[in-house]
């Protein structure tokens, strides 16, 4: 097994007396398709916030390609290839998708500070943005204002923005949250089509999707890792059935 | 020397208390409703003129004119809230700024038209004039009165918000409007009541301010900046925050002028900038 691309070492985070992340150590090898599951309030989103830097851990380390990024600011982690999406749409309501994604591409290329050069002079960036949008089936909507897009397309745009940063590691926080079942299948087919060497960790509640797309599953309960293994093992683990599935159905 | 310091601090505290009464209503309405009411100073001015009319034209004693100032400002403000301001709750803060500034213009022009541009002196009862000697020090009687009034108001507000049904509703609405609505709280009328309370306090502050800082049609503009300083330094929606901020600013201002008079004009702004840079949410702010 090769060196993991992303690795956390006993991450801890508390809010006051509430421990939301306890001693989480996970590893994502190159090209991973890991799912992060767990009941509501298990600390899944908090963990992503910790990894991407929206939150600072109380203790523990985060390593990207072997380098310690625990204290690295969010934007710098993105530049190193660690990107996330948000469970609740975090978009630019008054921009069009082509503007938003072009912006993300320009930011990646370090061209966003050039205030004297017209945007249209960055033809490659615009082309790349449009290519990403087309790939995500947003080509026809690229020039519509984001706030007027249907919800499902906004979820796609959420992902397009992340892809524009050319991530090595992509953390997807419930990419299909709130999307009807038939559309969510479409969304995951987009995810499945992402380059094989891209490392992906996704949070998802729909178990059928999890078992279809994930090659490995991390089960998080009350802030700690309960189990990490292959789908078949997780599926048959009695603790998971009790803690997670039992609760989900109860 | 220590005595001098004490008296300077006392004076600063009294001035701070005036700022507190003027500002606390703004803090509550801004914190509760997210409504940027730059006309708060105009309601204070209204209270001031109400007191002037009540004492001079109607012959009421000064103390009795204070509730009049409160009630007049509260009633007028609630009329505005019901008819105009409520349309702006969802209109964004820029629109709120523009609208309420417009109202301050209108209020200032109206005051100049009705009352003229001159200062409006008021006559105080004998026991509020002059000084009270205590332990060899001379304290301004009116300043003592101001501090007492401010403490009473703080007490009433804190108790009212902690222990009354209305207070619970206000706190619930501040924390989470939607949840409060779900609990069957009539958020609409809670807003109206809070607004009336906040503006009433401004009116009371305006009445109390005449003796200390005078009253003319530019009052609404003039004291707006100080009100906003108190509110921001104290933290939105926090009564205790406004109290602490107002005391601190009053004392810092007077102490600054006393010890480093060259910096007198800068003190209050410097303190504000430094505090807000360190604690953007204010001294006792939630957000």
């Amino acid at each position: 097994m090769s060196e993991p691309v992303l690795k956390t070492e006993s991450l801890h985070k508390s809010f006051g007396s509430l421990e939301v992340t306890r001693s989480v150590s996970i590893e994502l090898p190159r090209g991973a398709r890991h799912a992060l599951i767990g009941p509501n309030g298990a600390g899944k989103t908090t963990l992503i916030n910790l990894i991407t830097g929206q939150l600072t851990p109380d203790s523990g380390r985060i390593l990207l390609d072997g380098a310690d990024i625990t204290a690295t600011p969010v934007a710098a982690r993105v530049h190193r290839g660690l990107t996330r999406t948000f469970q609740i749409n975090t978009l630019f309501p008054d921009l069009t998708p082509i503007e938003a994604v072009t912006m993300a591409v320009c930011e990646r290329e370090g061209k966003a500070s050039q205030f004297w050069r017209p945007l249209t002079a960055h033809a490659e960036a615009i082309g790349e943005a449009f290519e990403i949008l087309t790939r995500l089936r947003l080509g026809d909507d690229a020039m519509r204002t984001t706030r007027h897009l249907p919800y499902g397309k906004q979820r796609l745009l959420e992902m397009a923005l992340a892809l524009a940063t050319k991530p090595k590691v992509l953390l997807l926080d419930e990419p299909a949250a709130g999307v009807p079942k038939d559309e969510s299948a479409m969304l995951f087919s987009v995810i499945a089509a992402l380059p094989e060497d891209m490392t992906i960790l996704f949070i998802e509640h729909d178990m059928s999707i999890v078992f279809t797309f994930a090659t490995r599953i991390v089960v998080l309960v009350s802030g700690g890792v309960l189990l990490e293994d292959e789908p078949d093992v997780v599926r048959s683990d009695p603790r998971v059935r009790e803690v997670y599935l039992g609760q989900a159905h109860g | 020397m220590i005595g001098n310091l004490a008296i300077v601090l006392f004076d600063g505290l009294a001035f701070g208390m005036l700022l507190f009464v003027l500002s606390v209503g703004l803090s509550v309405t801004l914190g509760l409703m997210n409504f940027v009411n730059l006309a708060h100073g105009a309601f204070a001015m209204l209270g001031g003129y109400a007191t002037v009319v009540a004492t001079r034209e109607l012959g009421l004693p000064f103390l009795w004119s204070l509730p009049v100032a409160f009630i007049v400002a509260a009633l007028v403000s609630v009329a505005f809230e019901r008819t105009l301001f409520r349309r702006l709750y969802r209109a964004g803060e820029l629109n709120q700024v523009l609208f309420t500034i417009g109202l301050v213009f209108v209020a200032a022009a109206s005051a100049a038209y009705v009352f003229g541009t001159a200062q409006q002196p008021i006559e105080l009862p004998e026991f509020l004039r002059g000084v009270t000697e205590f332990a060899g020090f001379r304290f301004g009687s009116y300043r003592i009165f101001l501090i007492v009034v401010a403490l009473v108001i703080t007490g009433l507000l804190v108790l009212g918000l902690e222990y009354t049904r209305f207070g619970a509703q206000v706190r619930a609405a501040v924390d989470n409007q939607r949840a409060a609505q779900g609990l069957g709280i009539d958020v609409d009328s809670v807003f109206a009541m809070t607004f009336a309370l906040g503006s009433g306090l401004a009116g009371l502050g305006g009445a109390l301010a005449i003796e200390m800082v005078g009253l003319d049609p530019s009052f609404g503009f003039h004291y707006l900046v100080y009100m906003m300083i108190v509110v921001s330094v104290g933290g939105l929606g926090s009564i205790a925050g406004s109290f602490v901020a107002a005391s601190l600013l009053g004392v810092a201002d007077v102490a600054g002028k006393y010890f480093v008079p060259e910096l007198g004009a800068f003190m209050i702004y410097l303190v504000m900038v430094v505090i807000l840079f360190m604690r953007p949410q204010g001294l006792i702010g939630k957000r």
Binding site: R84, T90, F92, M103, F130 | L88, L94, A265, V273
Partner: protein, 328 residues
């Protein structure tokens, strides 16, 4: 067919966003009208142009980058004083004075930006206000340099290109202010339509997302704030040069507040909203105060309130909705 193709071409679409509309051409042609038909309004027109430029500088931070400010007169005044003091050293050439004043204000803006980008919302508003008031107090207490409340004395600006004197009617003043405004608008448009301008809009639209797409947004804000400060400084310098006066009022809170009011009145985030707001506010003030010097601001207040109730996005916002509504 052609329509469908252009609609699908993002390059063409983005180019179209940055293109001049016929309205803009009409607008700039209209700015020449005062020379021929309202020659007695030229001094007012020149001050409208100055204020419009100032409002544009505020629009860059408030309308585009979402930095709300109540202290921008600080940079306007610094530019004004710098331009005035420069002439007192014996160098009264206006164009270089303009550039130097702008650079000076931009430098101060750059220093201040380190504070500004670390706070938001009410704290940001109050810190800008506080810094503005501190600067005004500083200018007052440096009476030996600034002349205090009496204003700076002995400002002597040379004729432009050693030829065009600032005349009593205001021909030179308006032409000068108008040209500077035009250059300011063209430069601002270039900035707004750059990749940088796009990122600024991103910051305004969603501050949380910016770092998540790898944006060093604080640096963007610093650049925007610096540029805006420089532009405000240039506006102040034009005022100094066209009036040969500088008073403490150029740094006052009232000027900071007025310009924000004008900007909101015209409509934020559109550049032309700033110009329109400044023009409407100042012309209304001139006409109303001419009719009733004592109580004119009553009607200004009514104007502001009515605008909010009728066109909540500012006058230009309302107009553009009207035009678009008709178009489709």
């Amino acid at each position: 067919m052609l329509n469908a193709r252009t609609a699908a071409d993002p390059h063409a679409w983005l180019r179209r966003q940055a293109r001049w509309s016929p309205w803009e051409v009409v607008f700039w042609l209209a700015t020449i009208i005062p020379f021929y038909f309202f020659p007695t309004y030229l001094t007012l027109a020149s001050q409208v142009a100055v204020t419009a430029l100032f409002a544009i500088s505020v629009d860059l931070v408030l309308g585009y980058a979402g930095i709300i400010t109540l202290g921008h007169a600080m940079f306007f005044g610094l530019g004004a004083y710098f331009a005035g003091l420069l002439t007192k050293t014996g160098w009264g050439e206006p164009l270089s004075g303009l550039v130097l004043a702008g650079l000076f204000a931009a430098l101060i803006g750059f220093l201040v930006s380190f504070i500004i980008v670390r706070v938001q919302h009410l704290a940001l508003l109050m810190i800008t206000l506080g810094l503005g008031l501190l600067t005004a107090e500083l200018a007052n207490s440096l009476g030996w340099l600034t002349g205090g409340t009496d204003g700076l004395q002995g400002v002597d600006v040379w004729p432009i290109f050693s030829r065009f004197e600032f005349d009593l009617w205001g021909y030179t003043a308006y032409a000068y202010a108008l040209i500077v405004l035009f250059i300011g608008v063209v430069a601002s448009q270039r900035i707004v339509h750059s990749s940088f301008g796009l990122s600024l809009r991103g910051v305004r639209e969603n501050l949380t997302r910016m770092p998540a797409i790898g944006s060093p947004y604080r640096r963007h804000l610093q650049i925007a704030y610096t540029i805006s400060a420089g532009l405000a400084g240039i506006a102040g310098a034009v005022l100094t040069q066209t009036t040969e006066t500088v008073s403490l009022d150029s740094l006052s809170f009232q000027r900071s507040a007025d310009v924000v009011v004008m900007l909101i009145l015209g409509g934020t985030g559109r550049l032309y909203g700033a110009i329109l707001g400044a023009a409407i506010f100042m012309i209304a003030r001139d006409q109303l105060s001419g009719m009733n010097p004592q109580y004119w601001y009553f009607w200004i207040g009514v104007l502001l309130m009515v605008v909010v109730l009728v066109v909540p996005n500012g006058i230009l916002g309302g107009l553009s909705r009207l035009v678009r509504g008709r178009g489709t």
